[in-house]
């Protein structure tokens, strides 16, 4: 059976930026309740270079992030490594960057997706906005079915 990692990132102290971390809490509860095997979770403020080591151990990876893009409530997108459009700052890198580094350093190529969940406010608040919470729930229901199908 394939191993799947669900990795939420963002700062839960910055309102809807905490979508990734909150999503992982829901997944953890689901794993515990349903005794789901071979689905693992992690979370952090931002992605970084060492995440290339982490994802090398999995067959598939789903990153979960807050998004301000023009999407309905959530959107699952496959991540493709893209050398030409690397954009990175000091301590945060993109999903494509993590995957590309994983391929180049460890010769591993997990199927990688990013789940964008629509976000609205980024104030110094611990809770998600009601709209973001709704989007999160919808995205979670979708991902449960997606993961179970992927693992078959």
């Amino acid at each position: 059976m394939s191993k799947t990692l669900i990795y939420g990132y963002g700062n839960p102290g910055r309102q809807d930026d905490g979508i990734g971390a909150r999503f992982v809490e829901l997944v953890d509860a689901w794993i515990a309740k349903e005794h789901i095997q071979n689905v693992f979770t992690d979370s952090n403020y931002q992605l970084n270079v060492e995440d290339s080591v982490l994802i090398a151990d999995y067959d598939s990876v789903i990153f979960v992030d807050a998004s301000v893009a023009d999407i309905e409530s959530y959107k699952l997108e496959e991540v493709l490594p893209d050398n030409a459009t690397i954009e990175f700052t000091m301590h945060a890198v993109s999903t494509a960057y993590v995957l590309d580094l994983c391929r180049k350093l460890y010769n591993k190529n997990p199927r990688t997706y990013v789940l964008h969940v629509k976000a609205y406010e980024f104030d110094f608040v611990e809770d998600l906005t009601p709209q973001a919470m709704q989007n999160l729930q919808a995205a979670f229901e979708f991902i449960k079915a997606f993961v179970l199908k992927e693992m078959q």
């Binding site: 000091m90 301590h91 980024f122």
Partner: protein, 483 residues
């Protein structure tokens, strides 16, 4: 006709900055500015919150170096709960915090060198930008890139085992720490399978340092001639003058090594440091009050620390420090790119300190917290990877924070970064008919040497919770944009 060159955003620094360079009719540089949009609402946000929440709350400020903010806040609150300044904690409390702090220093310095600075050194500052990045390093120097990744991972895991968790760590609390380090946790780092153990990390840190020195010997003219300018330097030093990244007294030296501030208790920092506001940047410009705005600005960070310290209290790093100091005949080092050299000496030092701490049985003891007579006000300082970080809090009768003031490392380096940009622009662009990409990258190299952190913590693309106001040359507001 005069022109304006804009470099936006500045890449490979945390957050986004903007540089503007104004050229006159003869294509000479007339004015340069590094504009920073720094979110400063945080100090108001913590007002009214219970003081004991601060070490966790401040991690909302920055997801990049939360450990530095966590510890600076905890040190300020140590004073408020009567645990004293720095050494007032139990041995276990102080040493656990030091382990966390030097773990952060180790991972941050390794990341900066291997994944931000090394592309310019390994591939050339004038190389194609498409490959002049860590992916280019991974392709051409996979062993070095892997070392950088694993050194960062090693430091992050130390943080996780001392702070309790990756996000919103709770390890440091007012008056101490909330956990010790078990033998099993300790052995992860002391006896980890190769290469994930402290001995290998020290070897790799030394290797990185020797690599830089080799590069320097081959490119001495470029390194020494790049953004050299005299300045003051400020940091914490241990009471006896040793390099200490967790605690000490404030010391500043001028460009010739004269002590212009020494043995200052940082609880009184506000008597010695002021911040100037300029209308073209959100980031303030700190300076030493007794010297004044014009000449009182100073550098912080690795270069400054090795200029203020008399020695390094670990053998391998001390040996390298002596070589480094000999280069400037014992005088302060004002070469901008030598910051990388200083940073790598600190990386080696951090590795040595981590090993010393891991071998210390005090980490397994259970006396974690001390309390004393409660006060109303406290200041906490640490030497963060990028330089001196100030946290200052005052509480009211209900234990709520009524005042907070933070001076972050990058703010301390505001004027030096502007000086570096100006130096490089004038030396590389004056009189040139065409401003090339390598010239622009050279400006970025100067900024990156300071490892600036401009983040306001949220990383969602296109969404920064900021009000942006535009002003004309007379300082009159032209536009107000709320993102």
């Amino acid at each position: 006709m005069s022109q304006k060159v804009t470099i936006e955003p500045v890449t490979r620094v945390e957050g986004h900055g903007k540089v503007t360079i104004h050229l006159d009719d003869n294509m000479n540089v007339a004015q340069t500015r590094l504009h920073i949009v720094e979110f400063r609402g945080f100090e108001r946000f913590v007002q009214g919150r219970p003081y004991w929440e601060a070490p966790v709350l401040v991690q909302r400020l920055c997801g990049i170096c939360p450990v530095s903010h966590h510890l600076a806040a905890a040190k300020a609150l140590d004073v408020i709960v009567g645990a004293g300044t720095g050494h007032g904690l139990t041995a276990t409390g102080e040493k656990m915090r030091r382990l966390m702090h030097y773990g952060q220093m180790f991972q941050s310095h390794a990341l900066h060198f291997f994944h931000l600075a090394s592309p310019d050194f390994l591939l050339g500052y004038d190389a194609d930008p498409a490959i002049r990045n860590v992916i280019g390093v991974a392709i051409n120097f996979p062993e070095l890139a892997t070392q950088g990744v694993l050194m960062r991972k090693f430091g992050q895991e130390i943080i996780e085992h001392t702070a309790g968790k990756k996000i919103h760590g709770t390890g440091a609390i007012p008056g101490g720490i909330n956990k010790n380090l078990t033998i099993e946790e300790r052995d992860i780092f002391l006896k980890g399978a190769d290469p994930m153990n402290i001995d290998k990390m020290i070897d790799w840190a030394d290797g990185a340092l020797q690599f830089f020195k080799g590069y320097y010997m081959k490119n001495r003219d470029f390194v020494d001639g790049f953004a050299y300018f005299p300045s003051n330097h400020l940091s914490l030093v241990r009471k006896d003058g040793a390099l200490d990244l967790y605690h000490g007294v404030l010391r500043a030296v001028d460009a010739n090594g004269n002590k212009i501030l020494d043995d200052v208790d940082y609880q009184d920092y506000y008597n010695y440091i002021e911040e100037e506001v300029k209308n073209w940047s959100y980031m303030k410009f700190p300076y030493l009050t007794h010297i004044g705005k014009e000449k009182g600005w100073y550098r912080v960070g690795p270069l400054a620390r090795l200029n203020t310290a008399d020695f390094i209290p670990s053998p391998k790093a001390q040996k390298e420090f002596e070589i480094y100091k000999a280069h400037t005949n014992g005088k302060p080092n004002n070469y901008c790119l030598h910051t990388h050299w200083a940073r790598l000496i600190e990386l080696l030092h951090a590795g040595e300190v981590l090993k010393e701490l891991l071998l210390d049985p005090d980490l397994q003891k259970d006396d974690l917290v001390v309390k004393g007579k409660k006060g109303k006000e406290g200041v906490g300082l640490v030497e963060a990877p990028r330089g001196t970080l100030f946290h200052h809090y005052r509480i009211d009768d209900n234990d709520a924070i009524e005042m907070a003031n933070l001076i972050v490392s990058t703010t301390n380096n505001n004027e030096p970064m502007n000086q570096s940009v100006n130096f490089v622009a004038k030396n590389m662009m004056n009189g040139q008919a065409v401003i090339t990409e390598p010239m622009k990258n050279a400006v970025e190299i100067a900024i990156r040497a300071y490892d600036p952190c401009l983040s306001c913590a949220t990383h969602a693309l296109g969404k920064m919770p900021l009000d942006i106001k535009l002003y004309d040359a007379n300082g009159v507001e032209m536009d107000h944009y709320k993102s």
